[in-house]
Assembly symmetry: C2
Homo-oligomer: 450 residues x 2
């Protein structure tokens, strides 16, 4: 049989550590939103602001108050950015209450807290960005959170522990905090090489009744970049990483990724230097990919991380769609849980795959015309050219192949399963990350609240 | 609050019975495909053929051998129909083996069985249509099935039991056989009223490892209609019924619906009579809707049928998309299993809804231009206008409402839950059918085969 094409991988190595880049100070604390008394408020300040920021937000048509407020704030600090990028001095994340489906009153709550943090940080409210996660349909305890915000002076740290505390305070039902860090070298204005850190923390998508699968991430760097550069960099990276992660196919009202550059590393601005942009983008993608995989592995009830790598597709959008269809199939997810090399369910999922919506394709870098032409189309599949392998074992190549089922099943019990699919049609590659479907998922999500 | 709009419902009443319309003879028998010895071969012959037939097939890009053969046969008997309609003398359904992912050899198996049945029925192979369901990736036991086909003369019945036997032989893991029947009166050529029967049987979508969620249905009538008339009638009905049914979001390689008109009732041809077409379409839709709901209620592992009725959408396509998003959400399905009136998950699912692909919209009756313009777009939602009620209890109307949770939870334990959503935007209505997500689903689908 034809050898499966390897996926291109030129990403720098990342480590699972929360190294706080220069130019930020951070803390995680308890404001009293969660009944458990666990940390539920994270704040990140820009030391010598403002910092350039790019953001991606949920496309859910019922966005949370924080998402609505952020988009309005970014439109003020960078009117050309249409709410996608701008400038920021202070960021906060509350956990335990989504502040979604709370109407205009919920929006007023969020604005009031932004004003409080702005006063503390000595900036205007429009340079404050907020994220939230937790219970839907309840109001934020504004007085308690405002009280916490006015008493945190002196509690900020500039070390890695402070950023780890941020990751911890963002958690809802995550079993572990998620962090990833990469260092690359960029040119200084004098021409020397300067180390630049890209670090991210994230929460989700583990969830338990009645919380939602909100996915939030801070990605911070001390590189020097304009907001628009960051935004152009961020969107295709999110398309290849977080948007290729599926725990249960549901998208929360609050999903937010923030990419923030303080410029404190002393590098030259990267904006006019394609090589520097590529180097930083590689670091951001390595961090995003690591966080997305950590999140999929911690999917609610999950025991096994599923990675599906697709090659040979007509184009990358088709490859990503096929990979995502595989990790999103409840049938395949249940089969992986049973360590069952059920390739029929992989073939079925690939056969059902449809290229994403036009907006997703545009985010991934296609022109509006190209995106409209491709959106929603079935992924091209030739049954005779299709090849599937599971954990390195070829199981299908146009026809079912003979393989040692018991041996392969044993290999599927090690906490991670790699499924490779080659469509044998074109140069498109892509991957997606998911997790197995377990009884624990059903139990946790059907538990009645009272 | 604004009263929720009732869904329009002008469908005739259906009963869950397998009344065989005139002009057909049928049987269900054991051919030896299933190891269990359960019935696994159904045959329906047209008494005085050929009969007009319209069909919808899976859009999975890896269609089973039967689907590929049927499309080729229909293209021969009605070249203008592009494989969507034609003429038929004999139909068969095998259960226990999908004959999918079996390559050209599997297609040859299917053609060989069609030729055997054609010989028995005194017709040519192109007037034979076949459906199959069961294990993927294995070959049909051709000799055994051919043997059964050559020994069934004299076993056919023209009574309701014969059609019930067809429903029984189509089952794989269905816990009960599904049937629905409606009688309407149409004009005879002499101007009198003649009773016309529309009856359907269906299997799926219960599944257990390693079988797939194949959905198959015969809908038979003794009305007199041309294939193209049936095809124009069938596509929007399938869009409103079976395509709005979701057990787990996966579409099999074999899904097939056949609508067959024998003309044996003695009515005038309906094709040029809009009133007669509408009457027959109403009967077909009532049968299709009943079968789709029976299938959702019997979803694998399911304990509760979920119906989501959406009104106030921008148009019907948007309403159907929103309804389908609700019944497809694993989070909502798990909440219903726990009798948890978690309206936040309903709002979240509505906010994520996207209008279907262009091909689905075209099938539902939109022009290709209109379908392309709407495909994949987010469903328009105004958070302030959104209203949700569960089992008649209003729970959200722009803001969360007060309600008695314990009482509502009790009402959700009765085997069926009706969720009504009003978007408050336009005249569009639609509904969708699903079932709860249970631990049993995970257990059955993660059981290792060996």
């Amino acid at each position: 049989m034809r050898a499966l094409e390897p996926l291109p991988s030129h990403l720098p190595a990342s480590e699972q550590a929360a190294r706080l880049p220069r130019g930020f100070e951070a803390l995680g604390t308890t404001a009293g939103i969660k009944e458990s008394g666990a940390p539920d408020l994270a704040v990140v300040l820009v030391t010598d602001g403002p910092a350039a920021i790019a953001a991606t937000f949920t496309t859910n048509r019922l966005p949370a108050a924080a998402v609505r407020m952020n988009q309005a704030h970014l439109e003020v600090t960078a009117p050309a950015g249409e709410g996608r990028y701008g400038w920021v001095d202070a960021m906060m994340c509350t956990s335990g209450c989504t502040n979604a489906a709370t109407g205009e009153a919920g929006l007023a709550d969020q604005r009031s807290l932004a004003a409080t943090l702005a006063t503390h940080a000595g900036t205007q409210p429009e340079r404050v960005i907020a994220m939230s996660t937790g219970l839907i349909g309840t109001r934020l305890p504004v007085e308690r959170v405002a009280g916490a915000l006015t008493s945190i002076a002196g509690s900020f740290g500039t070390d890695d522990q402070a950023f780890a505390d941020v990751a911890d305070a963002m958690r809802t039902t995550d079993s572990v905090a998620k962090a990833a860090s990469v260092t690359v070298e960029l040119r200084s204005p004098e021409g020397g090489l300067v180390p630049v850190t890209v670090s991210g923390v994230a929460k989700g998508v583990g969830m338990i009744h009645p919380e939602m699968a909100t996915m939030l991430s801070f990605v911070l760097t001390d590189a020097d970049a304009q907001p628009e550069t960051l935004s152009r960099m961020l969107r295709p990276i999110v398309a290849r990483t977080w948007n290729q992660t599926s725990i249960d196919g549901d998208q929360s009202t609050n999903d937010t990724v923030l990419l923030v550059a303080s410029g404190a590393s002393g590098t030259a601005p990267i904006d006019e230097d394609p090589q520097a942009v590529a180097a930083l983008a590689g670091a951001v993608e390595a961090v995003a990919r690591s966080l997305a995989r950590q999140q999929a592995a911690d999917g609610e009830g999950a025991t096994t991380l599923i990675t599906c790598a697709v090659s040979g597709a007509a184009d990358d959008a088709a490859a990503r769609a096929a990979a995502r269809a595989v990790v999103s199939s409840d049938l395949l997810k249940a089969a992986v849980h049973g360590a069952d090399p059920n390739w029929g369910r992989i073939a079925m999922a690939v056969g059902n795959a449809r290229v994403a919506s036009a907006s997703t394709l545009e985010a991934a870098g296609l022109t509006p015309e190209a995106a409209a032409a491709r959106a929603g189309h079935a992924v091209e599949v030739d049954p005779d050219a299709l090849q599937i392998d599971i954990e390195g074992t070829p199981v299908f190549a146009g026809v079912p192949l003979e393989y040692e089922e018991g041996t392969l099943s044993e290999r599927m019990k090690r906490g991670e399963v790699l499924i490779r699919v080659d469509l044998g049609i074109g140069p498109g590659v892509g991957e997606a990350f998911g997790c197995d479907l377990t009884q624990e998922y059903v139990i946790e999500n059907s538990e009645y609240s009272s």
